[in-house]
Amino acid sequence: MKRNKRSWRICTILVLVLVVLGYTPLMIPHGIYKPMIFGIPYSLWTSILVTVALVVLTYVGSKVHTGRDEGEEEA
């Protein structure tokens, strides 16, 4: 339970870091589209990667979130 709580907190912090990063010039630089990867412009491939990371964190979060339905035992 304690470990899950910590893991949930880590997930939340990582998500918050990604959210902040997502709106900085690091991810959406004004008018810049290079370097491209597989021909995909910079802001697009970085934001696709970060979106995938968010979904992975959601998956991990779904495993470690400590909330339970009434009457449900912790796994």
Binding site: G22, I28, I32, Y33, M36, Y42, I48, T51, V55, G67
Partner: protein, 472 residues
């Protein structure tokens, strides 16, 4: 192509008929009809949530958004959806807990019992009505554009809209929410299949992905970075959109209800990350369709681009499937939203259940009629209209969030504060209030105002409650 259209429509209608037959029960209770007995499993749960979220707006609005404003459209929707699905883990858990305590019948009803005043429910219902009606009308508008292009001159657009609305009402009347959930699942799968088929055709028209982007670079390199050629995707626009999108499960009742009707918490969690995966899968091909349009159809009107890219440039079976897919998307999203409005109204009604259900059923007809009228007045800027709808309802998020988070009764002033923000936003849409406060966009300013004032009101209420009571 017509033969393919008949074949795919035949299959689609057969699936719908099967879904209605499976969902229909004589003498079902209001909860079975309106909330599917709160027993939806994780697979149906994620498909119905995704289908309610990704609709004609994704299918048509997003490619057009990529075409006109460039790759920032990914951050606008997909990145925001990634944040939203994580938020669902936290919010969905608290919401389900609250819903159990208050015997959830609808978001408006939940707010009435949480705040202890009808005004909380009325405010939620009013905002849902004001912003969902245009949002639903977008869907109808989307399919009308498409059907007119597929069958030029056959029927006027309002007749297509009427056919859709009548079908939707009959279907909802027979099967209730359960049937809508099944149709959502069918629609979600068709949408995913057809959007990838079209996306792949768009890539192969240029050879491969790098060549597609190279072609766009030659036409308009500004599309490959933010803020895009028209400067739309500024960080302020994207951040404001993110808040609005993340708040969708909080303030759009058709989605809030879906978090509650999933049978258990484990299913809801699976649903959250599955929606995230679905979001990436469904938005990715819209990049290719949009970039294809940017290189091949720059500057043409939306309807022309969509009918070319989604219909006439596709092989006959794919084009036919696109028509059926869009029709299905439109039908299920419209159904989900009209039904949600009906459910919200029902959760506000007290007294005899049969009478409440009669009023609710009548209200579905009324909402559908209003939507039909609106759909004839809509513009073609589907994605921007959707954003307005999301932002408008997001102004009411503090009401729901505070009700769900607080262990005790939240301050009633929150209703007033949220309603004030909503009115200011509406006035800005009407051009009465400027859309910026200094350099900050109005939606971001209103979010700041909401955060600060709701925190202040909650703090003051806590302090007052701690004061020793005067003995009389």
């Amino acid at each position: 192509m017509k033969v393919w259209i008949y074949i795919f429509f035949g299959i689609f209608f057969a699936l719908l008929a099967f879904a209605s037959w499976k969902s229909y029960r004589r003498n079902r209770s209001a909860e079975e009809f309106m909330l599917a007995g709160k027993s939806i499993g994780p697979i149906l749960g994620f498909l119905t949530f995704s289908a309610a979220l990704f609709s004609a707006f994704t299918f048509m609005g997003m490619p057009d958004f990529f075409r006109n404003h460039g790759i920032g459209a990914w951050t606008f929707l997909a990145f925001s959806d990634g944040i939203m699905v994580f938020f669902i883990l936290w919010f969905g858990y608290l919401l389900r807990k609250k819903a159990k305590e208050h015997n959830f019948q609808g978001v408006a009803g939940l707010m009435v019992s949480s705040y202890g005043t009808r005004w909380a429910g009325v405010a939620m219902f009013a905002s849902a009505f004001i912003f969902l009606i245009p949002y639903v009308a977008i869907q109808i508008r989307g399919i009308s554009i498409f059907l007119e292009a597929a069958f030029p001159g056959l029927l006027p657009s309002w007749t297509w809209a009427l056919i859709m609305v009548v079908m939707m009402l009959v279907y909802a009347e027979i099967g209730g929410l359960k049937a809508i959930v099944y149709s959502d699942a069918i629609q979600g799968l068709i949408l995913l299949l057809v959007i990838w088929l079209i996306g792949s055709t768009c890539i192969s028209a240029f050879g491969n992905v790098p060549d597609l982007f190279r072609a766009v670079e030659e036409v308009n390199a500004e599309l490959l970075s933010t803020p895009g050629p028209n400067g739309l995707f500024s960080w302020q626009f994207l951040l404001g959109s993110m808040v609005a999108v993340v708040m969708i499960p909080v303030t759009q009742p058709q989605l809030t209800t879906r978090l509650v009707v999933v049978k258990d918490l484990a299913s809801m969690r699976k649903m959250a990350y599955a929606v995230g995966i679905f979001a990436i899968l469904v938005i990715t091909p819209t990049i290719f369709i949009g970039m294809y349009g940017a290189a091949k159809y720059p500057g043409v009107p939306t309807s022309e681009f969509l009918s070319q890219a989604l219909l006439f440039d596709q092989a006959a079976p794919v084009a036919a499937l696109a028509i059926v897919g869009l029709f299905a998307a439109c039908l299920s999203t419209t159904n989900a939203q009209i039904f949600a409005l009906g459910n919200e109204l029902r959760s506000l009604l007290t007294g005899d259940e049969k009478k409440a259900m009669r009023i609710t059923r009548f209200s579905l007809f009324f909402f559908a009629a209003v939507v039909m009228v609106f759909s004839t007045l809509m513009s073609d800027e589907l994605a921007l209209l959707a954003r307005v709808s999301f932002t408008g309802t997001a102004m009411m998020a503090p009401i729901v969030l505070m009700a769900v988070i607080s262990g005790r009764k939240p301050a009633k002033e929150i209703i007033l504060i949220s309603s004030l923000a909503l009115i200011i936003y509406l006035l800005s849409l009407a051009g009465v209030v400027p859309d910026h406060v200094g350099k900050l966009k109005l939606d971001l300013s209103l979010y700041l105002f909401l955060i600060v004032s709701v925190a202040a009101v909650t703090f003051i209420k806590k302090k007052i409650e701690k004061l020793p009571r005067l003995e009389s």
